[in-house]
Amino acid sequence: MIAYLTAIATLVGVRALLTLGLNVQWGLTGLVNLGAVAFFAVGAYTSALLAVGGAPLVFAWPAAVGLATAAGAGLAMVALRLREDYLAIVTLGFGEVLRLFLLNEAWLTRGANGVTAIPRPLHARFAGHYDLFYLALVLVVVALVYAALERLRRSPFGRVLRAIREDEIVAAVAGKPVFRFKVQAFALGAGIAGLAGILFAHYLAYVEPNMFLPQESLFVWLALILGGSGNNRGALLGSLVLLGLLEGSRFAKDVIPFLTGVRLAAAQQILVGVVLVVLMIRRPEGLLPEQPGSD
């Protein structure tokens, strides 16, 4: 049971990072990014391919975060002239374009086969209880990112982002270079998603393109809205609750006897859906709403 909980906690940590990244973009700055999974994939693939190719992780990991950040900045430069619905469509499209690239450019990405046998950091040293070590690693990264983002949110930079979210014309009139701030926020969120991708790839030791389907982006949105967008603690809680629902319902079917086969799987998804709908009706702002004036 401990090993199982460790595995789930590790995956919660990865999802929490993704949600924190999206919170910078949507929660703080109001930028709709339906392609969060794209930067997750950039981080995962860059690190995986470099590591499998023999690069040391101290080089592969910063390179992966750097490339994810650059991809975010690049997309933002092109797409942020658009707003709301149009931005949503462009980011969604970017995610699919990237997935198809990963699937078809086999010379670089190994195509549909995926990248196997990704090295796991310090595996030999922590051989006996490696999963616990990895969980600790993930939790440390989450804690550092969380602390940094909390600082950022309260800083003048964070205040500008929130001002842009509320009304970007007002922010522009106040003399803020709105476009530059938006690009920075988008790139920062993308970099955090890339970091999540790294941890994901080296945990599973295997990545393939269909892990990065558009619905994964929607799961990140679910976690953020569930937890409370704009609030970093909400982002953490949202990820925990979402995976808790997905995993908790797994045990429900071991108990309820008349659910068999396909019915189990369907019931699991219905249960998750119902809980989400109820939460949204009861707490539309999320479990932990953003506190006004909390800086």
Partner: protein, 404 residues
């Protein structure tokens, strides 16, 4: 006010979590039954195959338990849905391994899922047997904990080619495949054999999933004037493709895997479009006593080639455990798999017969519903007969069986 409700909510969800997980904790502690997990796709792209596979496994276990279990220990099954998704598969596998303490996971389907759960199963010394086709599944250092009853893509490609060569009128062949982990390696094996036999490969094209129309792909391939189009895909894309090929007034033949050209395919395109399409797959051994027992126990099972394989996987795992007589573990299964599946030994077709002979200290060689089930060193099936069928008046009819 808001803080109160939040606390209540947290309390409620925490309690619910505990209550839900309690029975699993209890069942993991009971020592007597041997826990075995299934990891079939019940939802997602594989959702049309997983339920039949799971049903097969359940039917085998019912028989084993009725016959007194493995060395007087019953099997307890735990089912998880991999959602045809690698990450969901990993979470499900972790639950099976860590909470249910399974010694084996049977009937994985998608190659991506098998590849993703492979490292953690090898590390936890849990035996995995599935139907995934990609070559990388059995490659690498897995210490014998991985095996599969599905022929690897190389063998499949060569068998399809063998049939295509036997049809003398097919002089020009085009290969079209859905982008999957096996599209490339299947194509290489298939076109390799054909070229060696003097057949011209007019075009080789890998296409994307979920396109509303394949007009441009079909136009390109038909411009090369093939006598046969080898269409390697799944049902949904094959439906769109077959309609577009028909609309383009193609007069030649089409060959495809039977798992794509199933009843749903024929319903989707209509009998007229489907008429004459050749399809092949790993043949169940229709005459084998194991297949007869299987088809009596799993009435709908003969609709997919995976259900008989799931039947054999569960039987093999049980026989390997029975051969050990001592503790039940993944290591015991991988050490004994080839002892009970490969020659030499008395040929047996069911767990009951095999377990009886093992009890008398004899060697056995299990011949299953899906084939002879003989494994090589890396866990691949050594040989398998293939069935050739053709759609005639809205139904796939068996034409012949090809042996390697």
């Amino acid at each position: 006010m808001t803080t109160m409700t939040r606390r209540e909510l947290l309390k409620a969800s925490g309690t619910a979590g505990l209550v839900l997980s309690a029975p699993a904790i209890l069942s993991a502690q009971s020592k007597e039954p041997i826990p075995i997990g299934t990891l079939c796709p019940l939802t997602g792209a594989g959702g049309s195959y997983g339920p039949d596979m799971q049903r097969s496994v359940v039917a085998v276990v019912e028989r084993i338990n009725k016959a007194g279990g493995i060395n007087a220990r019953p099997i307890q099954l735990f089912h998880e849905d991999d959602q045809t998704n690698a990450e969901a598969g990993v979470r499900a596998a972790r639950k099976l391994i860590d909470v249910n303490k399974v010694v084996a996971i049977v009937s994985t389907w998608a190659s991506a899922v098998t590849l993703a759960v492979k490292p953690l199963c090898v590390e936890a010394r849990v035996f995995v047997i599935g139907v995934s086709g990609a070559d990388s599944v059995t490659q690498g250092d897995h210490k014998g904990y991985i095996a599969r009853t599905q022929p690897n893509t190389n063998l499949q490609g060569r068998m399809y080619a063998k049939f295509a060569v036997s049809k003398k009128e097919w002089k020009r062949v085009a290969y079209m495949a859905l982008q999957t982990p096996y599209a490339q390696s299947f194509g290489d094996a298939f076109t390799g054999v054909l070229k060696a036999a003097g057949v011209t490969i007019t075009d080789s094209l890998i296409y994307e999933d979920k396109k509303p129309s394949y007009r441009s792909e079909v136009t390109r391939v038909l411009a090369t004037n093939p006598d046969l189009i080898m269409l390697e895909g799944y049902t949904p894309d094959s439906v769109v493709m077959a309609k577009d090929i028909y609309r383009a007034a193609y007069k030649g033949a089409v060959l495809a895997p039977s798992f794509a050209i199933n009843a749903k395919f024929i319903e989707g395109v209509g009998a007229e479009v489907a008429e004459g399409i050749w399809n092949m797959d790993r043949a169940p051994l229709f005459d084998s006593p194991a297949y007869k027992e299987f088809s009596a126990a799993v009435p709908r099972g003969d609709q997919s080639p995976y259900a008989p394989q799931a039947w054999d996987q569960m039987t093999l795992v049980a026989l390997a455990l029975a051969a050990a007589k001592g503790e039940a573990s993944g290591t015991v299964i991988k050490d004994n798999l080839r002892t009970v599946s490969n020659p030499p030994g008395t040929v047996v077709y069911s767990f009951a017969d095999g377990a009886r002979l093992l009890g008398e200290g004899k060697k056995i060689n299990y011949e299953g519903a899906s084939g002879s089930c003989d494994f090589d060193q890396i866990g691949d099936i050594l040989s398998a007969p293939f069935s050739v069928q053709q759609v005639r008046k809205g139904k796939s009819e068996l034409v012949m069986i090809i042996n390697p």
